[in-house]
Each structure stands twice: as structure tokens, then as C-alpha cells.
Symmetry: C2
Subunit: 289 residues, 2 copies
Amino acid sequence: MKLVKTINELRNVIANWRSEGKTVGLVPTMGWFHLGHLSLMKMAKGKADKVVVSLFINPMQFGQGEDLAAYPYDLSRDMHLAEKEGVDLLFAPSSEEMYPEGFQTSITVKNLSQGLCGASRPVHFAGVATVVAKLFNMVQPDLAIFGKKDFQQLAVIRQMVKDLNFNIEILGHPLVREDDGLAMSSRNSYLNQEERRNARCLYRAITSVREKVSGEGTEPSVAQLTDEVTRMINATSGCAVEYVEVVDKETLQKSATINRNSIIVLAVKINGRVRLIDNALLYPEENDS
Amino acid sequence: MKLVKTINELRNVIANWRSEGKTVGLVPTMGWFHLGHLSLMKMAKGKADKVVVSLFINPMQFGQGEDLAAYPYDLSRDMHLAEKEGVDLLFAPSSEEMYPEGFQTSITVKNLSQGLCGASRPVHFAGVATVVAKLFNMVQPDLAIFGKKDFQQLAVIRQMVKDLNFNIEILGHPLVREDDGLAMSSRNSYLNQEERRNARCLYRAITSVREKVSGEGTEPSVAQLTDEVTRMINATSGCAVEYVEVVDKETLQKSATINRNSIIVLAVKINGRVRLIDNALLYPEENDS
């Protein structure tokens, strides 16, 4: 596996691959790899001849007071993990390489960036869209893979790709969970033992309402489901719901009634300090979370 | 010359050229071709194997109350002119093809879009940047050519290309003038005979201050030059200065003193109805306007 830190070297390696007729898959990440990331890399290996993983803790997608400085980072750990997955190139640029002096461009995907995580993180999705567009232009991949845990991010990127006519296939990979159901996230590393145990309430609440939806009897209303999730989570020590909604998995518009495209999406603050998100289709599909 | 109206067909033609190893140059336009446009096409022919000209009156770059509905359009006239220049493909999409329902993405190049034309046209440069990014992703050209008449547009696009890492060479073509000095513009077609005659005051004023700069004696101050241009133009029947500034030709920052990179930039309203812009280096260079 090649470790590359500059855009010029990245372009050179990829131009060589292209001259040999290779296809290229991209997996954008902020590092501190867990099984979720590794499963994206595996998926990319199955879909493209060459796999590029980017590792960049993107300052533009963090707001004031968020966890930019605390975000876990260990390049040699991540190199080792990516290499084991057969990744061909790990691109780990500096902030100066990505945002040289005078940088002033941003991409806004208006409607999809509002609400849900966008409500408490107003600059987040412009930062995501902008850095992803930069990576797309540097790598010019045939396909790029994103995790479905960040459901709103995936929707924003799909819309940007459509609106700006990027010639890139966007694939979503199902959310990967720990054995006890907690959605894998680099931010889980912020949790102490007790918080980690309490954080199981997110999946417990999701499982509970999914059982109600697929169970016997009248179908519960959207309000009943979100109320139940809110109640279960807020009853757990240290856990406070930021939002719980049932939305269409593509448009992110609130569902009036539950259907096959409805996902329940939620954000929870643990002890006011660690922000976790989760989501699930209310009617589970095979191969999906 | 091929006339293409859909993005799919555009991509197919270009993919064929690419498979033959051809380089591609792009000239984005809003049509109603004049010698300025035709000289961009000539330049592209000299720089790339295949030349794509886009013709799209981009609604996103027109503000409320601007001349979107009045903008001149004659596809068969323009096809004939482009064909004579040896253009390989004219891309003339519909608004629905460019902005399908649900479109919601925009690109902002913050600092360079403020001031000058951006002051009176607050949505203009986001519209320009967005449509140009779309065309770049559709065509994926090796190079793209823009006229220097739209000096702020050129600066915005160069910055966007740098910030978003488009792998495209941006070339500026010198401003082309009518015999009496009026900068060529599709909007000159809005002028009646008297207005057309009065519009010569823009170039007359520019010529006057350039002579002062290159002449004998103490160098005039920036304020003296802009005052003189304002006075000359406002003294002409029906002509009113919107702005006159002396700025660095790349950063568009106001020049404190005049140097080789200083350009004088101006916008003038004719009878409150037709808005014309012009610019020139204060120290003329060969091959430049």
C-alpha cells in the first residue's frame, strides 16, 4: 500500500493506473478505522481494480465548540488496518495541502442540509460536500462508498453528485454494529465504560419500535414511535435525545405514515459531551441495517 | 459539427473522443455569438484536438429584475457561426436538463464574489460558479477558455478550480473590441443607435486615463484616475457609472498605487436599462487588452 500526502503524487499514481485501464474506487474517511470503515474498504475492493482511502480530519465540517481537536488520530494504526484490507493507496494530506491560504469556496446542498443533524450543526454539511467534491476531483474515481450510518451525509452527497453532474457512482454500505447493537463510530472511543453501556439504549429503542411496526395489531403512528424512542432513551442515565424522526430514506422528508422507505433517525447526547447518531429502516430489508 | 442537447449524448461523444486519445477544450457561453466568442473558439481550436462550445442562458446567474427573459437567443444563427470556426460540438441543453426538479446545490466563491459586479448582482457569481462546475463535470475538458471582459467571472472561476481541485487548465482570452473601442458583448444588442454611440464613453475614458499613466510627469493617483473616468462617463448623455475601481488583476483587491498588475474596472448603466462592463490593464501589455 502506498501512503501519499500530496495531491500531485496522488494524481500521478492514479494517472498511471488509468493508463493501464484500471478502475478506481474511493472511500473517504476521517480515520480511526473500525469495522465499519473496513467493510467499506472490502466493498470497494470487490467493485474496483484499485482502492483509494482518504484519511483527513476535515476542519471545514466541524463547527465552533465541536470535537475537531479531540478527534482520534493514529496514522500508523490506520495504515496497518487499511493495508490488511488490500487498500492500494492511503491519501493522508495535511490541512495546508487541502486548504491553502486564500481558500474561499464552499458547496451548499440546501434542502437536505437543513433539519436533523443540520439543525445543530449548521456548517457541517457544506464542509462535507466541499471536501468530498475536492476528493472527487483529485481522484476522479469510478465509484465512491459511504456508510449509511451517516444517512444525511449520504443523501447530501448523492444530491450533490446529481446536481453537479459528477460522473461517479455513489454506493451506500449498510451500517455496521457492535455485538450489542451500538452503531460503530470513531466517536465511540470518547465513551467511558458506563457511558458505553448506557449508549446501548439507542439500538434498544430502535429494536423496540421495529418490533412494533412488524408485529401484530394496528400499525403504530409515527408520533407513537418517536415518542417511545424518546422516552426510552431519555429514561437512560446520562442520555438525552437531540432529535428522533421518521423520514423517507432518500428525500429525508418527514414520513406522515410508515412505509418501506421510512427510516427512523436519531441523535443522542451522552452526558452532554458525546454526540451519537443512529438510524434504521423501520421495515428491515435483507442486506440492510 | 454536432448539435447535442442532452448530457447523456454529450458524455457519449466525449467518451469516444477520449478513447481515441483526443484532448478536449471547452468554451462556455450564453450564445448570441460575437467576435469575442468566436475568438475564444479559435483559441480553443489551437489548444485542443476537439472543441466543445456550450450555449446555455443560465437562469441561476440572473437576479430578480435582470434581463434573463430579454437575453438574445438564436440557435440556428449561432450554430452557423460556431460551425464556421470548426467547433466540433455545440451543447445547447434545456433548463430542465440542467436544473431538474429538486436541484438545490450551489457553489460560492466567497471573497472574489463580493464587491464590483457582485455588489449589485448578489446571486450572479454563485450561479456562474455552479453552472461552470456542472459543465466541467459533464465535459471533463483538458482546458476551458473564458473572455477577460468578464474579469471578475474569470477570477471567480480560477479560484473555484484551485479550491475544488478541478484538473482543468483555465485560459483567459483578451477582451475583443469593436472598431470604435466598445467591448464586444451580447448585451450591446440592447442599445439603440444613440445609446450605442454614447456607449463609446467607456473606452474613451479608459484610453484617457491610460494615456495619463504612461505619459510624462508625475504618476496620477488611483483616486485621480477613477474620478476622471467617473466624470467623463457621467458627463455623457444617458450614461451613469455603477462603479469604477483600480484593482489587482488576480486578487481583485483595490490597488493603493498603480502597478503592472493594476486593471481599471467599470460598470455603467445606459439609460438605466442596459448594464455594460469594461476593463483594461493600466499599463498595456502586448497581446492584452
